[in-house]
């Protein structure tokens, strides 16, 4: 029994973390965000050069063939460094869809290019959770119509994985006729999302697509988003503690005031068990599949709540500085804010957790 990261896992996380600390330094993130870039090509290229764009992709297709726990450790680092890169869709949900539901040809065609970081894949599954503004995709044969909102990694994507209303899965290339991509702006400028509009767009069906596969993609996505919040929250705590140790008011560092200390202690006390929950949820995706869906719901919903508390509290500890753009703390604040709603807000996700256990219709 070992509930811990292995030496290899630690090293991998460390390597990627060190790379992002440097490559995704705040000034670089800020530039990318202010330019409304789809994602930062420089950071993504470097990230892919470490091999971790293919973290989940089988070695035969050029990936590392690692598991969801390793992927979650990567996602934690992208959150920690508010990295403007397409991780959740391109490196997790899309490869999972292809691996679970694609034909051998589809795998061979796309997985190596995803593993190398050469292409970016957007994922359109939001409407299978909740549909707004009349969105939803219908298929007739292999032709798609309708629209999809909040397409993860949509801006800059070369390829889309799209779920229709029945839970069938399709591959659509960005250049397909009848496809229109409209980018949406959220509070978080490090990970823009898209709307896709389909007018009789011819698509390629993933032969083994099913509602179960879509669910597995969502479970994985939620776990990654939870890990993203974990990393962002951890950084916000560290920043708050550092700031409190430096900032002086009333002739003392503010970190010596009990009120400030307790705010920091409360953040840490809330977040630390979350790390254990995220590890377990990610591990369960591979090793304890019968718990995978429930644990991803718990991780997603619980991290949403703790993340909101940490985001707000860290900003408060930073006082006026936290509210300005000067120290850039808001990049983490907003990352956590977007994480909360992507693939379902916590209220909706908890309702799903109840349904999974037969507690709700």
């Amino acid at each position: 029994m070992e509930f811990a990261l292995s030496e290899e896992q630690r090293m991998l996380q460390d390597t990627v973390g060190r790379f992002l600390a440097d490559a995704s330094e705040l000034d670089i993130v800020r530039k990318s965000a202010e330019a409304h870039e789809a994602f930062s090509k420089t950071i993504w290229t470097g990230f892919a050069e470490l091999g971790v764009a293919g973290i989940l992709i089988p070695e035969e297709h050029g990936g590392l063939g690692l598991g969801m726990l390793e992927a979650a450790l990567m996602s934690e680092m992208t959150g920690r460094h508010v990295a403007p890169i397409p991780f959740v869709g391109t490196a997790v949900m899309a490869p999972l869809a292809l691996t679970l539901a694609g034909s051998d040809e589809q795998k061979a065609a796309w997985l190596p290019r995803l593993a190398s970081g050469d292409i970016v894949a957007g994922v359109a599954v939001t409407e299978t959770i909740s549909a707004r503004d009349g969105a939803g995709v219908s298929s007739q044969g292999d032709a798609l119509s309708g629209s999809a909102l909040f397409v993860i990694d949509g801006p800059g994507a070369d390829l889309f994985i799209v779920a229709d209303k029945e839970g069938a899965l399709f591959l659509v290339e960005a250049s397909a006729t009848g496809l229109e991509r409209i980018d949406l702006t959220t509070i978080d400028l490090t990970r823009p999302v898209s709307e896709l509009r389909f007018e009789n767009v011819s698509a390629e069906r993933l032969p083994n697509g099913s509602p179960a596969v879509v669910q597995q993609m969502i479970d994985a996505g939620r776990t990654m988003i939870a890990a993203d919040t974990l990393g962002a929250g951890q950084m916000m705590i560290e920043k708050a503690v550092d700031y409190a140790k430096e900032r002086q008011q009333f002739g003392r560092v503010i970190g010596s005031f009990q009120a400030v200390k307790h705010l920091c202690a409360e953040m840490a006390a809330e977040l630390e068990p979350c790390r254990s929950l995220v590890w377990y949820a990610a591990y369960a995706q591979d090793a304890i599949p019968e718990e995978g869906a429930l644990m991803s719901c718990h991780a997603k919903a619980h991290l949403s709540e703790v993340g909101r508390f940490v985001a707000r509290t860290s900003t408060e500890v930073h006082g006026g500085m936290g509210f300005t753009d000067l120290v850039g703390l808001h990049y983490w604040f907003k990352r956590i804010g977007l994480d909360r709603q992507l693939l379902g807000g916590p209220e909706r996700v908890r309702e799903e957790a109840a349904r999974l256990q037969g507690w709700a219709a």
Binding site: R132, T185, E195, F250, R252, I254, E316, G320, F323, Q341
Partner: protein
């Protein structure tokens, strides 16, 4: 308890209503810059003439010269709000400088500044906070050294709203470096055109520059542009700061927001279900509705105390803390109920209400922090409201402030 206003006030209300209906079409467009437009200045003149702005400012200084009557002020506010008409100017000059001058200014200062300020001809900004002096305002470092009949000012201010459009600034500077920290500050007024002043917009987390930083490099100000005595600036400023804190956490704003959320939850649907039909969001809505009601009634209680010149004690001290938090929580509910749509921002397609909920959610957090952080508010409530002891002074300083 008597929530009716009584005959005299109802008559006054009729008067206001008549004015409102007769002058509806004169309602000015907002300039959007923080500086009143010509339209707005004309409107302000009309309001002053009729006693609906600068109501209690003596007529010798250009005001209407009425006795203070808080209920009449409230009736004016109610009727103008009901008709969506803008009230009189509530700039920092009008709400903070003018009361200060009336109390502590020289006759000359009153004559020179009050009338153009209330008419919107002279626009003021406030120079109090500094990057190193937030909660501990008295530690401010902007220096004014003497040079003949002038002060030479060097330093930096922050959180200065409307600085880029202001004519004048009222400013706290350290004139007595050797005095104890609360006793070395003076309150100066000077032109924003004085050489050596630089204004830089201060972008906040909302993505907008609601404030500015103001830098002073050898700014020369005649010594007679001081309000009250040298070294008295801290006490001068504190009187008006209390007023500012009282304004934050206004329950009427919460009521307006609540109404907007109720509408939103009836209009928006997720997968065909109206948000109001979701029991979790509905429960939060009712919880916040109770809080909004409590704060509104609480405001009426404070208003009554104020009208009777009674000290409402702790009841007043809790308003900023509870009011700002309530506004923040209202925005959070709107965002959560909107779900994925709730995170959209700027000019995104599918954006709701121009992104106001996210902007409020962040700006309210700024208000929770600003004007005395929640931690400072709790110190005040426990010390002044509950009579608990102050934090003991540390045995040795850990460093300079």
């Amino acid at each position: 308890m008597d929530l009716a206003y009584g005959a005299e006030y109802e008559a006054f209300r009729e008067e206001v209503k008549r004015f409102v209906s007769e002058n509806k079409d004169k309602s000015p467009r907002q300039s959007g810059t923080g500086r009143p437009s010509d339209d707005q200045r004309k409107w302000q003149d009309l309001l002053i003439k009729n006693g609906y702005a600068a109501r209690t400012i003596p007529s010798e200084y250009g005001g209407y010269g009425a006795e203070p009557d808080i209920l009449k002020s409230r009736i004016i506010a109610e009727e103008f709000t009901r008709a969506s008409l803008p009230l009189g100017l509530a700039s920092q000059g009008v709400s903070m400088l003018v009361p200060t001058l009336l109390e502590l200014g020289t006759d000359e200062q009153k004559k020179q500044w009050i009338e153009p300020t209330i008419r919107g001809e002279v626009v003021w900004c406030q120079g109090y906070s500094e990057p190193g002096s937030g909660s501990d305002l008295a530690s401010l470092q902007t220096k004014a050294t003497e040079d003949g009949d002038d002060f030479i000012i060097n330093g930096q201010k922050i959180w200065t709203s409307t600085a880029q459009v202001s004519d004048m600034i009222f400013c706290l500077v350290r004139t007595e470096p050797d005095a104890r920290k609360h006793e070395g500050i003076s309150y100066l007024i000077f032109s924003m055109d004085t050489p050596g002043i630089e204004v830089r917009p201060l972008m906040t987390m909302t993505g907008y520059a609601e404030f500015n930083e103001v830098f002073f490099t050898d700014v020369r100000v005649p010594k007679n542009q001081i309000v009250a005595e040298r070294g008295q600036g801290w006490f001068v400023a504190n009187a008006t700061l209390k007023h500012e804190r009282g304004m934050l956490g206004d329950p009427n704003q919460a009521g307006t927001r609540l109404a907007a959320i109720i509408d939103l939850m009836h209009e928006e649907t997720v997968s065909g279900e109206r948000l109001i039909d979701n029991p979790l969001f509905r429960d939060r809505l009712v919880q916040l509705q109770a809080r909004v009601a409590a704060m509104q009634f609480h405001g009426m209680r404070l208003l009554t105390a104020s009208a009777k010149k009674e000290d409402p004690g702790i009841a007043r001290l809790v308003v900023k803390l509870m009011g700002c938090e309530l506004n923040h929580q209202l925005a959070a509910l709107a965002i959560d109920a909107l779900g994925e749509l709730g995170v959209l921002y700027e000019r995104s397609p599918h954006l709701r209400a121009g992104g106001r909920w996210q902007r409020s959610y962040m700006f309210d957090l700024g208000l929770i922090i600003g004007g005395g952080t929640a931690q400072i508010q709790k110190n005040i409530i426990s010390e002044r409201g509950l009579g608990m002891p102050r934090e003991p002074k540390p045995a040795r300083k850990e460093g300079a402030a």
